[in-house]
Amino acid sequence: MILVAGIPSEPPLQEALDALSDLRADVVVLSQRRCAEIDLAFAVDSSGAVDGVLRIGRRHIALREVTGVYARLMDHRNIPEYQRLDVGDPERDRWAALNDTLAAWVDVAPGTIVNRSSAMASNGAKPYQGQLIARHGLLTPETLLTNDPEVAREFYASRPRVVFKSASGARSIVQTMEPGDLERLGTLRACPVQFQTWVPGTDVRVHVVGSEVFATAITTTATDYRYATAQVEEPARLEPHELDDDVAQRCVALTADLGLEFAGIDLKITPDGEVYCFEVNPSPAYTYFSGQTKQPIPEALARHLLAA
C-alpha cells in the first residue's frame, strides 16, 4: 500500500496520484486539510521495529502494510482549516500533535519514503550541502559567507559578476550584486550573507527518482530562472536535455548519499562544458518541469514507490 500525504490538490501530489492510479496501485490519501478525521499512533519495539495504526475517517490502516510513502507535508499552521479554529480550541493542539507524529513516523517508517525529513535537512544549510556536493565530484560555484563588509567588498571587486542568495532553505530570489549594493554592506554585521561568483551557461534541472534521471534545460537571460518573467519580462524556455552519463551517475549517487529517494538538482553547464551544481532540492515541485516538457517524472515516481 502506498500512502500519499500532504495537500492532494497540489499539482505534484495530484500528478503522482494520477500516475499511481494508472498503475492500479493500492493508495491511501492523507489530506492535511482533513486532520479532524485522522488519528495516527505508532510504536517502536525493543528491537527497533516500527508499527502502528492510521485512521482516516472510518478506515483503519495497519502501518506495517504501508510499503511506500510520498509526503509533501505543509506546516499545519498555514492550512486554512487549522487557521479557522479558535485560538485556545483544543483541536489546535490535536492538529499539532498529529502532524508531529506524522513527521516522526515518516522519519522511521520502513519502506520507500519520499522523502524522510531527516534526509531533507541538508537543504536548510546550502553551503553545508555544497560541501557534500563537492565530495561527489561536481563543481560548486565559488562561495563566500561573511559578515565582514571588507571581505565582501574585496570578493565583489575581484570578480566580473557576483550574486547573493539565501544560505538557508528560505526561498529567496537570486540577485546580481550591483555597485549600489556596496553601500548596504554594513548590514552584514547583523547576519552573514552568501555571495557566489556568477556562473555563465545553461541551467539544467535534474530530477532523480531512485536511479532514473530526467534532465531539463532552461533557457533564459534572467539571473534566477524561477522569476524569469519578473526579471527579464520573458518566461524561461524548458526542454528535455540529454545529460552526460557520468554526470547523471553522480547525480544519482549524490541523491542516494543524502538519503533521498527523489530530488531536484540544479546544475549549470558552462559554454566550456563544465558542470556546476548549485543545490539539491529534497521536495521538488517537479510539475513545473514535467508539465512543459512532458517528461514522465510522475510515472517514474509512481513506479519507484511501488517497487518497494
Binding site: 510504536a43 519495539d45 525493543s46 502502528g52 513516523w105 522519519d107 531527516s118 553551503p127 559567507l145 547576519c191
Partner: protein, 244 residues
C-alpha cells in the same frame, strides 16, 4: 591570548557548565585552550567561510583579535543554540528569516571547522544531529542495542538510568559500573551512525539488563569524570580526524 591564532578551543554557551568543566580539566592537563562563547562567535567582527577548489577555508576573528582559523588543531564544539539578542528590535518575520540564515551559516561554518572537532555540526544540530525519540530507538535497535521501546504520544515509567558517553569512538562507562560488552559495542555502533563525535546514551538498568532509553548530542560530561577528560584529551590531540 589576544591577537593570536588559537590551536585549541571549546565552543559553548556561557551557561554550559559541562563544557566549562571540561575546559578547566583539559587546561589542568596542559592544553592551551580558550573558551569561545557562542556570542563571541556570532558577534565576531569577521566571519569568513570561503570555498577553495573542492574544499572550504574558514576563519573567525574575535573582538579581541584572536583568530580561529587554519591553525586550529582541536575543538570541543558544544554550541547548542543561536544568540538572538541582537535581533530583538527586528520585526518578527525578518527575525525568523535572519535566524534561519544564521543557523545555516553556523552549521556550514562548524561542519567545515578546521582540525579535530568533537561535536561536528549537522543540519539537525549545531553540535551534532538532534534526533527524535523514535529515531533514537530505531537506530539503537539497528545498532544491536535492546531498547525500552517508544510509543507516540506517551511514555512508560522506566527504572533509573545509567549514562554512557561516547567520545570520538571511545565508550566511557560510569566509574564502578560493569557495562555489558554488547552495550559497549552497540553504543560504539550507534555513535558511528550518528556521526557527531560526542554522545550521551541513557539506559534503563534492571537486574543487570541494560535497555536503551534515549540519546543526546549535548550530554552532561561531568558524570564521566577523569575518563571522559582522558578521552577528550586524546581526541583533541589526535593528528588525524577522529571517529564518531
Amino acid at each position: 591570548m589576544a591577537g593570536t591564532d588559537l590551536e585549541y578551543a571549546v565552543l559553548c554557551g556561557p551557561e554550559d557548565g559541562s563544557a566549562l568543566w571540561a575546559a578547566g580539566r583539559l587546561r589542568d592537563r596542559g592544553v592551551a585552550l580558550r573558551v569561545v562563547t557562542v556570542e563571541e562567535l556570532v558577534y565576531a567582527p569577521s566571519i569568513r567561510y570561503a570555498t577553495v577548489g573542492t574544499g572550504v577555508v574558514t576563519e573567525v576573528r574575535l573582538g579581541d583579535g584572536t583568530v580561529l582559523g587554519p591553525n586550529l588543531r582541536g575543538t570541543l564544539n558544544r554550541v547548542a543554540r543561536l544568540p538572538s539578542a541582537h535581533l530583538e528590535a527586528t520585526p518578527s518575520t525578518e527575525r525568523d528569516y535572519m535566524l534561519q540564515e544564521l543557523h545555516a551559516v553556523l552549521v556550514s561554518l562548524l561542519h567545515a571547522w578546521p582540525g579535530v572537532v568533537v561535536g561536528r555540526a549537522d543540519p539537525r544540530g549545531l553540535c551534532g544531529a538532534w534526533w527524535r525519540p523514535a529515531e533514537w530507538m530505531v537506530a539503537a535497535g539497528q545498532a544491536g542495542l535492546v531498547g525500552v521501546g517508544y510509543r507516540s504520544g506517551g511514555s512508560d515509567e522506566v527504572p533509573s538510568s545509567q549514562t554512557v558517553l561516547v567520545v570520538a569512538g571511545e565508550v566511557v562507562t560510569p566509574s564502578g559500573v560493569e557495562v555489558p560488552e554488547a552495550v559497549v559495542a552497540g553504543s560504539r555502533t550507534l555513535a558511528a551512525r550518528h556521526g557527531g563525535g560526542l554522545l550521551g546514551l541513557d539506559f534503563a538498568v534492571e537486574s543487570a539488563a541494560w535497555a536503551f532509553q534515549s540519546g543526546t548530542a549535548w550530554p552532561d560530561l561531568r558524570p564521566g569524570g577523569e575518563a571522559v577528560v582522558d578521552a577528550l584529551h586524546a581526541a583533541l590531540s589526535a593528528r588525524e580526524p577522529v571517529p564518531a
